[in-house]
Symmetry: C2
Subunit: 132 residues, 2 copies
């Protein structure tokens, strides 16, 4: 290919704006050197990322106190923006944490039965925009 | 939520059909226990997955003989289909391999300069459809 493209680094505010606008992301885990990737519905609040899953799922198992990376993007013909949140996932258990999670109003594709809440506390948020 | 959803396992043929129809996926790696995730353009041929990247990129570094997981999906209002390919990535070097890769006609968002070809040899391909 001979066409040119430009890459711009997104600011942290732009990253969170994109994350707030999207509803579906992909969660990557790396337990035992084995990469796993899951499409997930998520919500953000106070710069924390919330997911819901069902008890006993692979996601629930892998996300416990684990390092994770969540990617969300906005793709158009000439512009592709992508944000990656790296951080630590934990399953929420206290009433206070669960109240904050439920206040996000997160709805998932899979519907009923998703009563495990997972919160990702970000260590690093990066994003970039490709234009051509 | 009280609505119901059904989950169907996709056949291997359905998985490859979805992979062939989509152009953007997300690649997860797990080097040193650290999950990384990259949005990527990819192509499939003969049930192998091809990516292009630039020399010296993090993706190129991580993909060398590494275990990877690539996810692609097709999301609509009432149906979400997602396929995950797990396998081993390698950077292509022989003329024969490069010819096969270039024959896919893979075009990337980032355009020029992507002269490293990566091939994923699948060990496992799984997919599912959520409907509600």
């Amino acid at each position: 290919m001979t066409d040119q493209s430009t890459t711009t680094t997104l600011t942290e505010d732009e990253c969170w704006e994109l994350l707030a606008q999207q509803k579906v992301g992909r969660l990557a885990t790396a337990v035992g050197g084995e990469p796993e990737i899951f499409p997930v519905n998520y919500a953000v609040a106070d710069r924390l990322v919330y997911l819901r899953t069902s008890p006993g799922t692979k996601l629930a198992e892998l996300a416990v106190n684990g390092r994770v990376a969540l990617e969300a993007d906005r793709l158009a013909v000439d512009v592709a923006e992508s944000v990656v949140v790296k951080g630590t996932a934990e399953i929420l258990e206290t009433d206070a944490d669960l109240s904050m999670a439920e206040a996000t109003g997160l709805v998932t594709y899979a519907g009923g039965g998703k009563d495990v809440w997972v919160r990702i506390t970000p260590a690093e948020v990066t994003g970039r925009r490709l234009e051509h």
